[in-house]
Every structure is written in structure tokens, then in C-alpha cells.
């Protein structure tokens, strides 16, 4: 028995960004009222779907790559303990220091203390979902350390005092005109003649961050992949802010969820083909940095790797739900999701929005804390088809719906419906009762008024099929 070492545990409350303030339907209702948001999201997701579809179409072996990616992740999860230990050995042998963080609080404390030990009070950050998940920025600020987000979309979010709404493009809910306004209002030293041309806006971010890159001694990053066999870490990015953070500072601290492991160097050949095409719709993203420990004379001479659990072991304990840990954070499932496209990411309450968020967040926190998310889907299945590692999100959603606490009234309705349908005579009687009631005015009382607010119900037919059949 190994359970004496503790059972899998969900992410703690009171820290991090995995729980929303209100249930999905209420948050979605507000978002749906924002026409600008709908237009921005519709435009952006349509663009990325077309781009991604085109470059995926160039690969005749896309399905074979997906199959391999899926199997590699299943293999990784099944062998996670040995692979993590192997990674630690390799990173340590290459001059890095590995830390284990059981939850968000521990990870925040480790990173804060590591920064404090350098004597510096500012860090530059490469976009990282894991650090957003644990609320690292808030923890650093509380300790008097300034975190500077360097990814353009993160910068837009940070300057706009906003929240991220997409895994890959956290400011996807903003259009160019809104970004220009945020820059004009919040970016010190910005050219007042700034236009809303994307090239001009990108140039403004370049000028604004340049001095910070050159003078900051500590960086915090996430990781897209970690190779157990070699101890190599990989960060995929576009702008070069990642290269800046991974190359210029003296100290680099990487925070990584334990599921980011890949067994061997060769295995990267699958993920490096899947991720850029599914994610930004590029054959390859502009920059990928790979490093193993410390390279004397090149890049940061102090490297720390923080391995984060924060509920992942609880996800792993669920045989159906654990495939959510296969996610490589490409965001393809968000980009094809008809629900996400209309509500945007904030409605999901967690840093992980969209279809993957709807299955990952409730598992990380325990379903009670995100009980509405498994229902935030029409089960249309577009996410499953888009996912480069073939995560069967609809099946996980259906599975999790069995675990959430159900409203009492609904339980009663469902139980009696099942009983009726298991008794054909009762069933036929119920059919006739429905026919006779003739829902007057075609508007129903709650909870069915959700339907009749915007749609008519069909007139019940004069006779059911089985009556007709019986008379034949």
C-alpha cells in the first residue's frame, strides 16, 4: 500500500484562479449581453480556425500524429512517478535545482523565496498557465516583488487591469481599437500618435519592454514540454519575449505542471508537429527555446524547476477524467467551441476556459467548487475532433455530470421520468397526458421557461406513433 503517503488532493481554496464568483449560466448571461465581445470573439476564432485548418490540411499524417500524441500522453501518465524522478535526476545533473510543490501555496512560497534570495524585487515573466493558475503574481506582489508580464496579450491584460480569457491569447476579447486605448491610457511613455495598426501596437510593446528586459535579473517561465530522458525543457512562443526571459536574466525559475512531461527526446517530434498547427495555425511558431539545466557562459547561470501538483493527482485518480491531463494547451478546443465563441473565457471563472476548462477546472478543484462547468457545453463534439491529442472532452463532461451535486427537484423529475419510461403502460399514459395538456400559449413555467423564452414548443400531434401503429 502506498496510500499512507496521502491520497490525491484537490487544489486548495483561497489561492489561485480556478474558481469563479458565480455559476456559468449567470456569468454567461452577462457576457452574452456584450455585443462588442461577441464580435471580437467571432472574428478572432473564425480567423484562427481557417488558419489552423489550412496548415493541418498540409499534413497527410495529421491523424497518425494525433494517435501517437494521445498514446504518448497515456504512457506518460501511467509512468509519471518514474519519469518525474528521472527528470529531476537529469535536471540536477545539468546544474539545475528541482523543487516539488504539492499545491499553489507551496509553489508560491518556493518561487517567492527564490526571488527574495536573489535580492531583486522585479521579475519578468513569460506567459504561463501554471503561474496564473496558482496566482503567483498576486503572491509576488504581496511580497513586494513586481511581476512584469512580457507576452503581448498578457501585457494587454495586465495594463488593462483585466483578466485573461483564452489560454493562448489572453486578450482575445479585445480588438485593436480597444488595445490602442489601453496602451494610450496605461503605457508610460507611449507615443500619443499611436494608431491601431497591429504592427504599430506591437512596436509600442517592443519599445516599452526593451529596457525592462535588459535590466531585470530574474525571470519566471512555464514550460510546454519537459523531457524526462534528457532533462530538457521547451518553451514555444512567437514574439521573442520568451527568448528574452530565458536568455538575459541571471536566474530563471520555471514552474511546470507535472503533466507536461514527455518521456523521450524523440517523442518531441510528435508534439512539435501537433502544437503549432493546432494552436496558432502556424507550421511552426517563430521561436522555440530548449535548455537543459545550465549552460556555462550562455544564459541564466541559476536555474530552478518547480514541479506542481495542485490537484493534478486528484485528476489522475479519475480513470475517465484523467485524460484531461493530456492537454498541451493549444486552445484549439476553445477556438471551435460554439459556447466559448459566444460567452468568451471570463464566464468560465477559471484561468482554464472553454471545453478543456469545463473538464479540467472541476477536477482540479473538486466538482462541488465548479459544479456548473460540466454543463457548460451542448456536447456538440467539435472540441474532440479539434484536439491534437484526441481528448474525448464530451465523454468527460458527461462523466463529471454524474459527480456534481444535483438539485433536489431535478433529481425527483429525473427519477420519475426514468420510472415512467421503464413502464410502457405508464409511458403511454404520460404521452396522452402531455397531449391533452396542450401547453397553453406555448409558454412554460420554470424550469422549462428557459425554452419558451425564445422558442415555441411544437403542438402535440393528435396521436402518438404507437397509437397509429396499433391501429394499422
Amino acid at each position: 500500500m502506498t496510500t499512507f503517503l496521502g491520497m490525491p488532493t484537490t487544489a486548495p481554496r483561497g489561492v489561485g484562479n480556478l474558481r469563479g464568483d458565480e455559476p456559468f449560466p449567470a456569468a454567461a448571461r452577462k457576457a452574452l449581453g456584450n455585443a462588442q465581445l461577441r464580435r471580437n470573439l467571432g472574428h478572432a476564432t473564425t480567423t484562427i480556425r481557417a488558419k489552423s485548418g489550412a496548415v493541418i490540411g498540409e499534413l497527410p499524417d495529421w491523424q497518425e500524429l494525433r494517435t501517437a500524441g494521445s498514446a504518448l500522453k497515456a504512457d506518460t501518465m501511467a509512468r509519471l512517478p518514474e519519469l518525474l524522478v528521472q527528470l529531476e535526476e537529469k535536471v540536477t545533473a545539468a546544474g539545475g535545482v528541482v523543487h516539488w510543490a504539492a499545491d499553489a501555496n507551496e509553489a508560491n512560497r518556493i518561487v517567492t523565496e527564490l526571488v527574495q534570495a536573489t535580492g531583486h524585487d522585479r521579475v519578468i515573466k513569460v506567459k504561463s498557465m501554471a503561474t496564473q493558475e496558482i496566482g503567483l503574481n498576486e503572491a509576488l506582489e504581496a511580497a513586494g516583488i513586481e511581476p512584469v508580464e512580457t507576452d503581448l496579450a498578457e501585457l494587454i491584460v495586465q495594463l488593462g487591469h483585466d483578466k485573461p480569457s483564452h489560454i493562448l491569447v489572453p486578450a482575445i476579447h479585445r480588438n485593436r481599437a480597444e488595445i490602442r486605448e489601453i496602451f494610450l491610457r496605461e503605457m508610460p511613455g507611449v507615443d500619443p500618435a499611436l494608431t491601431d495598426e497591429p504592427v504599430i501596437l506591437a512596436g509600442a510593446a517592443r519599445r516599452y519592454l526593451r529596457e525592462t528586459f535588459l535590466s531585470t535579473k530574474v525571470a519566471v517561465s512555464g514550460a510546454n514540454f519537459a523531457i524526462a530522458e534528457t532533462g530538457t525543457l521547451a518553451v514555444l512562443e512567437s514574439e521573442g519575449n520568451g527568448r528574452m526571459c530565458l536568455t538575459l536574466p541571471e536566474t530563471l525559475i520555471t514552474v511546470m505542471g507535472i503533466e507536461k512531461l514527455v518521456p523521450t527526446w524523440q517523442d518531441l517530434e510528435v508534439f512539435l508537429q501537433l502544437l503549432p498547427r493546432a494552436s496558432t495555425g502556424e507550421r511552426m511558431n517563430p521561436y522555440t527555446s530548449m535548455w537543459t539545466g545550465v549552460t556555462p557562459g550562455d544564459g541564466p547561470q541559476n536555474f530552478h524547476l518547480v514541479l506542481l501538483d495542485n490537484g493534478r493527482s486528484a485528476v489522475l485518480a479519475d480513470e475517465v477524467g484523467r485524460q484531461a491531463l493530456h492537454c498541451i494547451r493549444c486552445s484549439a478546443c476553445l477556438n471551435v467551441c460554439p459556447v466559448y465563441e459566444r460567452t468568451g473565457g471570463h464566464a468560465y471563472g477559471s484561468v482554464y476556459p472553454g471545453p478543456i476548462g469545463a473538464v479540467l477546472s472541476p477536477q482540479l478543484t473538486g466538482v462541488e467548487d465548479n459544479a456548473s462547468l460540466p454543463y457548460a457545453s451542448s456536447l456538440c463534439g467539435a472540441c474532440f475532433d479539434a484536439c491534437p491529442v484526441k481528448i474525448d472532452i464530451p465523454s468527460i463532461l458527461v462523466h463529471l455530470r454524474n459527480e456534481v451535486p444535483h438539485p433536489r427537484a431535478e433529481q425527483a423529475v429525473m427519477a420519475s421520468a426514468a420510472y415512467t419510461m421503464d413502464h410502457p403502460k405508464l409511458y403511454a399514459a404520460a404521452q396522452h397526458a402531455a397531449k391533452l395538456s396542450r401547453f397553453s400559449g406555448r409558454r412554460l413555467p420554470p424550469p422549462f421557461n428557459g425554452w419558451t423564452a425564445s422558442r415555441d414548443l411544437p403542438e402535440p400531434p393528435p396521436e402518438t406513433f404507437r397509437d397509429w401503429w396499433a391501429k394499422r
Partner: protein, 244 residues
């Protein structure tokens, strides 16, 4: 061929026209249709709403009812999807391996209407006549769960008098999703609004699909708008003839 009709609870109760059309069509093609008594509902609503345990007796009933038949047809991609992809899972979750095996066996002989026609019976021209401008909505479960592909369109293209017009963004969900339409009514309505905009943009008189549920949703919205576009099940179009 002797074909057992799995009518589905929705078609039985609310849309018998689609079920009757299925019978007429198959009989016209020279097949014998039987209606196994004792069938009610596949349990999909329970399963998809998180009431898998309540669905277990329904799965058991469905498997018992259809086990004696070689070929089962349903005029619904969604219910066939549930039979194929969920019944064995429900049985397994309840620890009943025997039921799971029987469920898989029945699922292997259960077809959605367009699958039955094209794959099993080998017909694409069913001899139908339907002189209308029609657009086809490929429902999510037909498209992505059981992957009927372009079989419905192939059948529709052979219908005399029918003008098939392409539906923009056809593969996007109409927003029905079973209890999703109740639990997330606002989001569902927003999805429906876009679907209706696309349907109306085609100038079609009729919007068809292989699922009464999605048609009820789209049709309910169109009716509220008084849009003048009707929703008609694929089976009804394929059953229509010049004589009728």
C-alpha cells in the same frame, strides 16, 4: 429485409410524422418493418444530464427489446449515438459486463436512417419527389458522434424536384444539447439565433435534418420569429412521392 424500428421517445410522442415516414419509406423499398413493443426511451437525456444510474433500467430495457432483431433503425443520429457510445459504458459503470456485451451487440446492429439506406440497403435514390428548396443541417451527433458523413446529402441529391442549398457554417451546433437548452438557455438561444440567421440566409423553404430534437429546437425558434421556413425530418422528404 426485416427491420426493427426504434422510434425514439421524441418521435413517438411529438413527431410521429417522421416515424411514420420511416415506415412508409422502408416498406416502399420492399422491406418489412416491425415495431417491438416494450420500447420507450434510450436514456440519453438521463445519461447526458448526469443521471447514469437512473438510465440503467432504460438501457437494460432497450437491449432486451432489440436483442432479437438483426437490423434496427432509428430516425435519429443522436439516439443511435447514445446506443452506440453510451449504453455499454452505462452498463460497465454499473458493473454489469454481461449487459455491456449485449449492449455492444445491439449497438452493432443499430443504424441511423441514412446509414441504413446507404450502407446496409445500398440505395441512394429512394424514388422520392419533393419539389422544394431545402437546406440540410448536419446535426452534431450525426456528424461527429456516429459520423454519417455526406450520406444524407447524397440521398437528398437524388430526390426529384428538390433543390438542395448549402447551409453556411452548417457544422456549428444549433444550441439544443438536450437539457443544455434549459440549463444554459441564454447561450443556447445565442447559438440558435446564428443558426436561424444562416438558415434564413439560404432562402430555403425547408430546413431538414436527421434528428427531431434539433429540428424541434430550430423549428421552435423559426416559429417564434414567424419566419416562414418549415422544419421537416429527412425521413419525411425521402418518403414523399409524386403520388402522395
Amino acid at each position: 429485409m426485416r427491420i426493427a424500428l426504434f422510434v425514439t421517445c421524441l418521435a413517438d410522442t411529438m413527431f410521429p410524422a417522421a416515424a411514420k415516414a420511416t415506415v412508409r419509406l422502408l416498406e416502399r423499398l420492399g422491406h418489412e418493418v416491425v415495431f417491438p413493443a416494450g420500447q420507450t426511451c434510450c436514456g440519453q437525456m438521463h445519461i447526458n444530464t448526469g443521471y447514469q444510474k437512473d438510465a440503467l433500467p432504460l438501457v437494460r430495457r432497450h437491449v432486451r427489446t432489440f436483442a432479437p432483431y438483426d437490423v434496427v433503425v432509428a430516425p435519429s443520429g443522436s439516439c443511435v449515438g447514445s446506443v452506440r457510445h453510451q449504453h455499454a459504458m452505462v452498463a460497465r459503470a454499473a458493473g454489469d459486463e454481461g449487459l455491456a456485451a449485449r449492449a455492444e451487440d445491439v449497438a452493432g446492429r443499430t443504424y441511423e436512417l441514412s446509414e441504413l439506406l446507404v450502407d446496409v440497403l445500398g440505395v441512394e435514390d429512394v424514388g422520392a419527389y419533393y419539389p422544394h428548396r431545402v437546406t440540410y443541417h448536419p446535426t452534431c451527433h450525426s456528424l461527429r458522434m456516429i459520423r454519417v458523413g455526406d450520406k444524407p446529402q447524397r440521398l437528398l441529391r437524388h430526390v426529384r424536384g428538390l433543390e438542395l442549398v448549402e447551409l453556411p457554417a452548417a457544422e456549428q451546433c444549433c444550441g439544443f444539447g438536450g437539457t443544455f437548452a434549459l440549463k444554459n438557455a441564454d447561450t443556447s438561444t445565442a447559438m440558435l439565433a446564428d443558426k436561424m440567421r444562416h438558415v434564413l440566409g439560404t432562402g430555403a423553404e425547408v430546413c431538414t435534418a436527421g434528428d427531431s430534437s434539433c429540428l424541434m429546437h430550430i423549428g421552435g425558434g423559426l416559429s417564434r420569429l414567424d419566419a416562414g421556413v418549415r422544419t421537416v425530418h429527412l425521413a419525411e422528404i425521402l418518403a414523399a412521392t409524386e403520388a402522395a
